[in-house]
């Protein structure tokens, strides 16, 4: 009997299924690398380092699955097609910016961690935290649960924007 590490067993199962898919004339939905990354992912955060090494096509698949919780849809796949040739870092910044700025991601709120890429276009507001900390915790929680447009409105009313 064999002893597998978790990842080795998952990969072996993947290859088994891939062989059967091939026999049925179909392709696997994602590469073995993406499959392995997804199998080993934490459920409550996405570590950039876990997906940074993937090639552009795999990175795109993994980013959609992990940050949005769904596979890449056909229109999105089509729209990214031309960008797959971009240098890796440039491509990754573009993908992450698009996903992280989407309303869909804001609803999902799975944090992206250990990402050295600069993804924000926003200005640094050094007073933000200080002023927010002065707010009662309950108000902060209410603020956090607001949709983006309401947060903006709330800030406007409070004279912070």
């Amino acid at each position: 009997m064999k002893t597998y590490t978790d990842d080795a067993l998952a990969r072996t199962l993947y290859r088994l299924a891939a062989e059967r898919m091939q026999n049925a004339g179909q392709a696997m939905p994602c590469s073995e690398e993406v499959f392995s990354v997804l199998t080993n992912a934490q459920p409550d955060a996405v570590s950039y380092r876990q997906i940074a090494h993937l090639n552009n096509a795999d990175f795109l698949e993994a980013a959609y699955l992990m940050l949005l919780g769904r596979p890449l849809d056909d229109p999105s796949r089509e729209s990214w097609k031309g960008s797959l040739v971009l240098p890796q870092q440039e491509f990754q910044i573009a993908v992450l910016k698009t996903i992280l700025q989407s309303g869909e991601y804001r609803n999902n709120r799975i944090p992206l961690t250990d990402c050295p890429l600069h993804l924000s276009d926003g200005e640094v507001d050094q007073n933000l935290l200080i002023s927010a900390q002065a707010m009662p915790q309950r108000l902060v929680r209410i603020y956090q649960k607001m949709p983006r447009f309401m947060q903006k409105l709330a800030k406007k009313i409070a004279g912070k924007e």
Binding site: M1, K2, T3, Y4, T5, D6, L9, A10, T12, L13, Y14, L16, A17, R20, M21, A24, G25, Q26, M28, P29, C30, F35, L38, T39, N40, A41, Q42, P43, D44, A45, R49, R70, P71, K97, L100, Q101, R109, I110, P111, L112, T113, D114, C115, P116, H118, L119, S120, G122, V124, D125, Q126, L128, L129, I130, A132, Q133, Q137, V140, Q144, Q151
Partner: protein
């Protein structure tokens, strides 16, 4: 017999508006399990953060799934449970479609196994692996991950058919894996409502259908179910005066098929598609059908067959092993690739009306299995594998304690506490240098009888290792082999003091040895840049455990713990090389035992204060379960420290009041730590909202040079000693890489003196961390970090 504690994650059931297929099974079984007094059931549903669950109130759950009222989540503030909260002696039973859940099992199961929780998985089928082409890509991918977790970690598997069990064994054979123990529990088939509610019946539909003149196919429309075969036979069936009814919801990849149905010239006349039928409609459909057709390519059970039988309706089923097993002699079979084969089976039914009616009568007399019977079998299987009572004899009496010490003074100060608080302990075996014995004999006259075994007897002329931890473990090993120890005894140190009366139950409960952990060794960071012998010992223990696929919790919880000498020796036999490797005596023993003898152990959170010596020495991994013991440090009693003003020696008059006071002060400190963590979480969430990323410190390599990136703003709670990880790319770490950091406030005053972090000196596999001890007052300022030529600044807000 003690009740079995079962935890069930029903996240998918709670999200699914209809209860068919797996969710139907989950609902029927759970409703019955809730009625069983021998079971303590905790129902769980996923939290939005996916790292814990909310507990579903039983009443709300039952009301929702029996009367369709309210919500399964109930009302009010939910009780939150994390994987660490599931007790060691509990069973985690996955009956729902767990592969679809965000808290994936490859992450969850190792956490549960670390503490010996029994895992039982319901494997409905393994068709996404054997015939992956029939499944949505997402489902197939998730199923593969889930299966790997089940095969690696499940203690027991429940299947609904021998054929599924066989398929699982075949898969394990292909993978050269030992198959998990498996119980086959066939499903029930009675509907929740025994009699159809006439209001729920689709009367329009039945006006168009003549009794016994239609073939019914029940189930989600999906490629595997092979609706196509029946669809292709519609014209020939119509020629025989038969209609075709598909009842179910539209599944994956069948939109085109649905269009074909709607465009079929016989649609609405000889062909019907009833989407999402009510239980009442489906029951009447079953009762009035000529037969139920089931041309499926593969199944885990084939619930429509037993449901048809329960309604007295004949079945024409695919000739595949699982359906032969479920349908037995009562069903008729056909080749699921041939329309002609199907038509032959239909013709056989139509050929002789008397024979047909006789068959119906025979089926009507047949009593298929009920959900009550299925639930009873499932409960029996769960109770067998997950009995809360362990296998340690209940009448075992522990009377001996043992200690390794060279410090008479410490032991003599601890002895009165043991004497007063641990009445079941009669003897203390002291392993010490021979020269210490006379003083101990002279100065101790309490109830506990001292027994002695000298270091000289232990070592028998062998040299003693120099490293503290290596020496410690080596001596413990010698102690197990040579000292006059009982088979089961309490091992302690000379400075572990009880804070209150302690019974044997603290160490041995419900037939399980209680093992107390305080950390996850895989996350142990130690004192970076200045590792102690203890830190190295923890790293070695971590490596030993992970290399051998064992749990890796830290059991050096600085409190007395129970040891079964026979199991300790068994561990040494299994790993003979470790005696001189300086591993941790608690961690190796308990992690080994929980992996090898889970029914004898229960892993519990630690119960000691004074561990760590100062709470801010490191970020706590978990809070203590209770405070029963003290890891005594003289320094904690000095002026300005946490126990200032309290006695350092046993005073029977003050003992109780002072213990309460110590617990109060320590609990307040723990609460403060919790508050700091909560404040940091709020800061991180706000930061993410604003900057689209987590506030982190990163060290990367760009063009051969180290580059630091820091958050735009750092919030730190006043008075806290926060430890923030530095995510460093391996390429960026050179032997001489050094990060220097300091904080000045907005008036230019130095708040944090220069601190240095050398990532190369950090143990491999451990994340380097920046340490920020903050003053107790708020300020705004600037953090400056320098690494080589790279200097970066970060605004700091320290708030009370």
């Amino acid at each position: 017999m003690a009740e079995t504690r079962i935890y069930m994650d029903l996240s998918r059931l709670c999200l699914t508006p209809f209860t068919s297929g797996i969710q139907r099974v989950a609902k029927e079984i759970v409703l019955r399990m809730l009625k069983d007094p021998a079971i303590s059931l905790t129902l769980l549903a996923d939290l939005p953060t996916h790292n814990g669950w909310r507990v579903l109130p039983h009443e709300a759950f039952v009301k929702y799934y029996t009367e369709k009222e309210g919500s399964p989540y109930g009302i009010g503030r939910p009780l939150i449970v994390t994987p660490e909260d599931i007790p060691s002696d509990a069973v985690f039973f996955d009956i729902d479609s767990a592969w679809n859940m965000p808290m994936h099992r490859c992450w969850l199961f190792p956490k549960l196994k670390d503490r010996g929780v029994t895992i039982v998985s319901h494997v409905y089928d393994i068709i996404p692996i054997t015939e992956p082409q029939y499944f949505h890509s997402q489902t197939m991918r998730q199923f593969l991950s889930w299966t790997s977790a089940v095969l690696q970690y499940a203690d027991h598997v429940i299947c609904n058919a021998e054929a599924t069990k066989q398929a699982l064994h075949t898969l394990c054979g292909e993978l050269e894996l030992a198959p998990p123990p498996c119980t086959v529990v066939p499903l029930g088939s009675d509907f929740a409502k025994k009699t159809a509610d006439p209001e729920d019946i689709d009367t329009n539909l039945f006006e168009q259908l003549t009794p016994y003149r239609y073939l019914l196919m029940v189930g989600t429309i999906e490629p595997r179910k092979n609706h196509r075969l029946l669809f292709d036979a519609v014209d020939q069936l119509a020629a025989r005066g038969l209609k075709v009814v598909f009842a179910g919801r539209l599944g994956w990849n069948m939109e085109q098929f649905a269009k074909e149905i709607s465009k079929h010239p016989r649609n609405g006349k000889d062909l019907f598609f009833v989407q999402g039928p009510t239980d009442a409609t489906i029951q009447q459909l079953y009762q009035q059908a000529l037969a139920v057709a089931f041309p499926t390519k593969n199944e885990g059970f084939g619930l429509p067959i037993v449901e048809a039988f329960r309604n007295g309706t004949p079945v024409l089923a695919s000739d595949i092993p699982v359906l032969r097993e479920v349908g037995g002699e009562m069903a008729d079979y056909f080749d699921n690739t041939s329309v002609d084969s199907l038509l032959q089976a239909v013709d056989a039914l139509l050929a002789d009306e008397d024979a047909y009616q006789k068959k119906r009568a025979e089926i009507a007399a047949y009593r298929p299995r009920s959900w009550d019977a299925a639930a009873a079998d499932m409960i029996a299987a769960l109770r067998t594998v997950g009995n809360v009572c362990g296998t340690v004899p209940q009448d075992l009496r522990v009377t001996q304690m043992a200690v390794l010490t060279a410090r008479n003074a410490d032991l003599l100060r601890t002895l009165p506490y043991l004497d007063a608080c641990m009445p079941f302990i009669e003897r203390l075996l002291v392993c010490c240098p021979e020269r210490n014995i006379a003083e101990l004999k002279e100065k101790w006259s309490g109830r506990i009888r001292l027994e002695f075994f000298t270091d000289e007897q232990l070592l028998n002329g062998e040299p003693l290792p120099k490293d503290h931890s290596t020496r410690n473990f080596y001596l413990r090993c010698l102690m197990m082999r040579r000292a006059p120890l009982d088979d089961v005894f309490i091992m302690t140190d000379d400075d572990y003091r009880p804070l209150m009366p302690v019974t044997q139950e603290c160490f041995l409960k419900n037939g399980r040895y209680q093992a107390y952990y305080s950390y996850d060794l895989r996350e142990w960071r130690g004192t970076q840049g200045n590792y102690t012998s203890f830190d190295h010992c923890m790293f070695r223990t971590r490596d030993l455990m992970t290399a051998n696929h064992m749990p890796a919790l830290l059991y050096a919880s600085h409190q007395p713990q129970i040891i079964d000498k026979r199991l300790f020796l068994e561990m040494l036999d299994a790993f003979p090389e470790i005696e001189l490797q300086g591993v941790d005596e608690w961690g190796t023993y308990f992690n080994y035992c929980i992996a090898k003898h889970p029914s004898m152990f229960s892993a519990e959170r630690y119960c000691s204060l004074g561990w760590p010596g100062s709470i801010s020495d490191w970020m706590l991994w978990c809070q203590p379960k209770a405070l029963i013991f003290e890891n005594f440090y003289d320094s904690l009693y000095e002026d300005g420290r946490i126990f200032a003003g309290l006695s350092t020696a046993f005073d029977p008059e003050k003992f109780q009041a002072e213990s309460i006071e110590k617990i109060r002060r320590w609990t307040a400190e723990l609460a403060k730590q919790d508050a700091y963590k909560a404040q940091m979480r709020t800061y991180q969430e706000m930061y993410r909202d604003r900057y689209l990323r987590t506030p982190e410190f990163l060290l990367t390599a760009q063009d051969g040079a180290a580059v630091l990136s820091v958050p735009e703003l750092l919030y730190l709670p006043a008075g806290a000693a926060m430890r923030i990880p530095l995510h460093a790319e391996p390429d960026a770490i050179q032997p001489d890489t050094e990060i220097v950091y300091s904080i000045k406030d907005d008036r230019g005053r130095q708040i944090l003196q220069e601190r240095r972090l050398r990532p190369a000196e950090v143990q491999q596999g451990v994340q380097p961390e920046l340490v920020f001890p903050m003053p107790p007052y708020p300020f705004h300022g600037m953090l400056t970090l320098t690494c080589g030529a790279c200097t970066v600044n970060c605004a700091v807000s320290c708030v009370r």
